[in-house]
């Protein structure tokens, strides 16, 4: 079965690659071809808060009805209109120099400062009422004080008004648009206002991007099965610039990072993608798609398609076939389908296999409230979520090692083990990298514990600060730096440069926690087969967690490392069959001094062997 005899393979793979690239091009290209027209309809779709809508509507008068073809300028326009509205609000509610002059005129007339003067000076409008209330709060100690020099009164009024104006943003009477609302409005307005080629032909674009890309990818992947006998084929990986961290890898990193930044911080730029899967999600959850829906969809699709690649690449190894099946199952059912169906059933939507501290918002007030107020099923989810990390992790990890979760169940692991498999060789194996890894990943675990601790403290006591620090600032810092930047932008974006487990290795607090159990109390270890290691380095090179497996194997030592996710690839790529993942029943040999170099010959017969010999 020579490659050259199977003449169809090369054209099919080339065709597949072309289709995939066309799909990718259409997918990215569709983001820039829609046009945007703001209509009353769009406003009412996007802004459900009626008083906001009425307040905002006049501000959008200029933009309304105009068709803008440049998405960025439309978004900037909308955003600046909303900001402008807030600024106007600030101005109206701020105490101006002329306000102070008017008050001072009253003070001059009377000779001292009285609170009644404020109404005379400022009037009775909404904003005047606000200013009077604030000035009353800040200056009532001054009221009625006789004999103060007028200049001193003016000075006090000026100083206090500066203080008041700084806090003008806390206007809570429903007028101000807060940052999170602003983001929603920008996203909603952009989505509702979009029209044009993509908006009118979502079906076609779905086909041209997602379907074409998927078919192309499969056409590229599947023929691999026919190029030769099953077995480890890592040929040319370090010659190919998409897998050796070269130029194509750089491009892929750039694209992934851009997508993650858009997803987390500027979802209004990817509304066309959301529109693609809107009908599908309407069918699934009854309400439609958001930016995270398209993410979940493409994420799951990537795991399925690249799962097929795993099935073909490792078709000789039942270990990889089994765990890949498990990963695809948990992603498509537990992470993708069940949460959407729960929404449809009006139940709290949750990914039952995800757990704290990876699921860092599990102990957020809104989640606890939502679960505890959703009857039996909510209560079950709450208890399940806590049981899983508190009891499930120690028990499963004791028997099977970290792998039961990280390379069999987890969604992040699912992506890493399938879509990330082509990049596993790029992880840094140096001692320096290991040192950094230990500090950073355990640091994130500590951060997650502190963040959750203070969140729960606030939840149960209603005290919103600890040592003068707002407890929510822990939560928002974690969400931004760890949840968004680390796990998304860096963790997945840098697959093609730093390997497929960047997040799992350096950032995942759950991995750190399970790792501690694995390192100190688990039956799992990788054993080495006597002295047969030839130090070739395949195991270390293909370890996605950057473990220098060879350093242990060439000493004949068992490998017990907190970071090992038990993917089993070291064992597969070993050309001498030296490594085996095992759940042993006795303590592994982790004290390196107990093992040295090639295995000693043991000349002791066990009792049963002696019996056997005697027969």
């Amino acid at each position: 079965m020579q490659t050259s005899q199977l003449t169809w393979i090369v054209p099919v793979r080339k065709g597949g690659l072309s289709l995939f690239l066309i799909g990718l091009l259409v997918f990215v290209g569709m983001l820039v071809i829609n046009t945007f027209t703001l209509t009353d309809n769009a406003l009412s779709n996007a802004i459900s808060n009626e008083s906001h809508r009425q307040l905002l509507s006049p501000h959008f008068a200029d933009l309304k009805g105009n068709t803008v073809s440049n998405k960025a300028s439309f978004i900037n326009e909308v955003r600046s209109t909303l900001n402008q509205y807030n600024n106007t609000l600030n101005e109206r509610y701020s105490i101006s120099d002329s306000d102070i002059a008017a008050i001072m005129a009253e003070v001059n007339a009377l000779g001292h400062y009285e609170l009644e003067q404020l109404t005379n000076a400022l009037g009775t409008s909404d904003e005047a009422a606000y200013k009077i209330k604030k000035l009353t709060d800040y200056t009532n100690w001054l009221a009625g004080a006789q004999g103060k020099p007028l200049s001193e009164i003016e000075q006090v009024l000026k100083e206090k008004s500066v203080e008041i104006n700084v806090n003008v943003t806390d206007i809570t009477n429903g007028k101000r648009i807060y940052d999170y609302e602003l983001g929603q409005y920008v996203y909603g307005l952009t989505k509702s206002a979009s029209s044009g080629l993509v908006a009118n032909n979502t079906g076609l674009f779905f086909f041209l991007s997602i379907i074409l890309g998927t078919v192309g990818a499969l056409m590229y992947i599947v023929p691999d099965k026919y190029t030769g006998p099953a077995g480890i084929k890592n040929n040319n990986i370090f010659f190919n610039s998409s897998t050796n961290g070269g130029f194509i890898g750089l491009l892929a990193t750039f694209l992934l990072v851009a997508i993650y930044i858009a997803l987390y911080f500027f979802p209004e730029y990817i509304i066309e993608w959301v529109a693609l899967v809107d009908p599908l999600f309407k069918g699934l959850n009854g309400s439609g798609a958001g930016p995270w829906s398209i993410y979940g969809f493409v994420y799951t699709l990537a795991i399925v398609v690249m799962g097929v690649r795993m099935f073909i690449k490792y078709r000789h190894s039942n270990y990889h076939l089994t765990r890949t099946t498990s990963l695809v199952f948990f992603q498509s059912c537990f992470a993708f389908l069940i949460p959407e169906l729960l929404i449809k059933l009006n139940q709290p939507s949750t990914d039952l296999k995800n757990m704290w501290p990876l699921d860092y918002d599990f102990f957020d007030a809104w989640n606890l409230d939502s679960l505890s107020s959703s009857g039996g099923i909510g209560m079950f989810m709450l208890v399940w979520g806590i049981t899983l990390f508190a009891i499930g992790v120690p028990i499963f990890t004791y028997f099977f090692g970290k792998r039961w979760y990280c390379s069999w169940v987890c969604g992040c692991g699912g992506l890493a083990e399938t879509a990330g498999d082509p990049y596993r060789q790029l992880s840094d194996k140096s001692m320096t990298a290991w040192r950094i890894e230990r500090v950073v990943v355990h640091g994130v675990l500590v951060f997650a514990i502190i963040m959750t601790g203070v969140t729960l403290y606030t939840y149960f006591t209603d005290v919103k600060t600890i040592a003068g620090i707002d407890t929510y600032s822990f939560r928002s810092a974690y969400g931004f730096y760890i949840g968004a930047l680390f796990s998304g932008v860096v963790g997945t974006g840098f697959y093609p440069k730093m390997g497929n487990r960047v997040w799992c290795r350096f950032g995942c607090p759950l991995a750190a926690y399970i790792g501690l159990v694995q390192r100190f109390k688990s039956r799992f270890r990788i054993t080495t087969n006597g002295g047969q290691c030839i130090s070739c380095g395949n195991c270390s090179t293909y370890c996605e967690m950057g473990i220098d497996v060879r350093a242990y194997a060439q000493r004949g030592a068992d490998i017990v490392r907190s970071s090992c996710v038990g993917c089993g690839v070291c064992s597969s790529v070993c050309p001498r069959g030296v490594l085996k993942l095992e759940n042993g029943t006795v303590n592994a040999v982790v004290n390196q001094s107990q093992k040295d170099e090639t295995v000693q010959i043991i000349n002791v017969m066990s009792a049963e062997e002696q019996q056997a010999m005697a027969k």
């Binding site: 079965m1 050259s4 990986i237 270990y319 070739c536 069959g577 017969m605």
Partner: protein
Amino acid sequence: MSRLVIIGNGVAGVTVARHVRKRSDREILIISSETKYHFSRTALMYIFMGHMKYEHTKPYEDYFWKKNRIDLKQDLVSDIDTNAKKLTLASGEEVEYDDLVLATGSKSNKFGWPGQDLPGVQGLFSYQDLELMEENCKNAKHAVLVGGGLIGIEMAEMLITRGIDVTFLVMEDRFWGNILPYEESRLIQRHAEEHGVTFRLETQLKEIVAGDDGRAKSVITSNGEEIACDFVGLSAGVHPNIGVVSQSDIEVGRGILVNDYLETNIPNVYAVGDCAEIKVEEGRNRIEPLWYTGKMQGEALGKTIAGQRTKYERGIWFNSAKFFDIEYQTYGFIPNSPQDNISSFYWQHPDKELCIRINYESDTQVVTGINTFGIRMRHEVWDKWLANQCTIKYVLQHLRDANFDPEFFKRYEQDVIDTFNMQNPESKLSLSRLNWITKRFTREQAHAN
């Protein structure tokens, strides 16, 4: 402080250095002309195939040497003066030593074939050979490999990843026939053919013909056939590299002659690894050009030099290799042809490329060795079985304990034992109950001691 100088930074030399360092504080210098840092020679093929880069083949990070105070010098030793205990290097520098270890490795065999030194003709041993192969294969389309051993099959695998057709000239009637019994040899040959290798059995190289550009353009075989090619790989084994030693007072035969302690005829001069020829009382002196033996010799010699004189004992023989996708392990001794008073039990999977051969003494039933292809076996278990002279009956019944395949792999112990019962109707063996819960070797051995 007394200085240990080691010539050669392959696994044998480096193992000596490491084991001396474990036990002593003396000065250690390794001189090699090949590369500055130690790398895994067995991994050269993976660099060529793009599985790894050169950096990945270094078993120790670069800081290791400085941290362990093992000095490295990249230079060629051009003269050894054992009277003055002095080396002269190609750069002209002179290096004095108190103890000298020769770990100079091997060279590819060339048997005086016409054209064997033409451009485009090479063996594969050193890093420089790999660079040369990279150069030679740039525009190559057809390759001929001469001699059917392990390096040959590795070269075939390497060349095929570059889309180069491979024709293999094998002197024997089957692949690696001087080592493998017929069935195993056929299995490997079929597998290699599936990967696109063409075999010419019972065929020797007569001549390599040069083209107009002065490079090899074809070979002529012993059958008179002319095979066009632009690359010729010589893989007819290796011989000890004793070039610089043979001009000194150190006694040499095929290799550098040493005793069981790896000591040469000159005090404080030792040889280790591929280059050492170990004198035996009876029969042919042993040369062991293997990674494993190099490492074990290095360990023994390291102890000796550090003051704890230790005999090199190989223990129960083992070896392993990989032929394209088929892993091979052997424990004990399996000759390539039937022997008197040795029974041979052979099992092969009907479709898959898996087989096991277990040899045992016909009278005592004691197992003497195993060949296994495509099924991993646990080294400790076989070592124990062979050292304790376990019988075929015991071994087959407990075969499950020896399996080292990854989890979820299909197991064949029942098929194996059924086959044995069928071939030996008088025996009614059955597998012992699966005692994997109680069997863990790492610690049990420690307790057994």
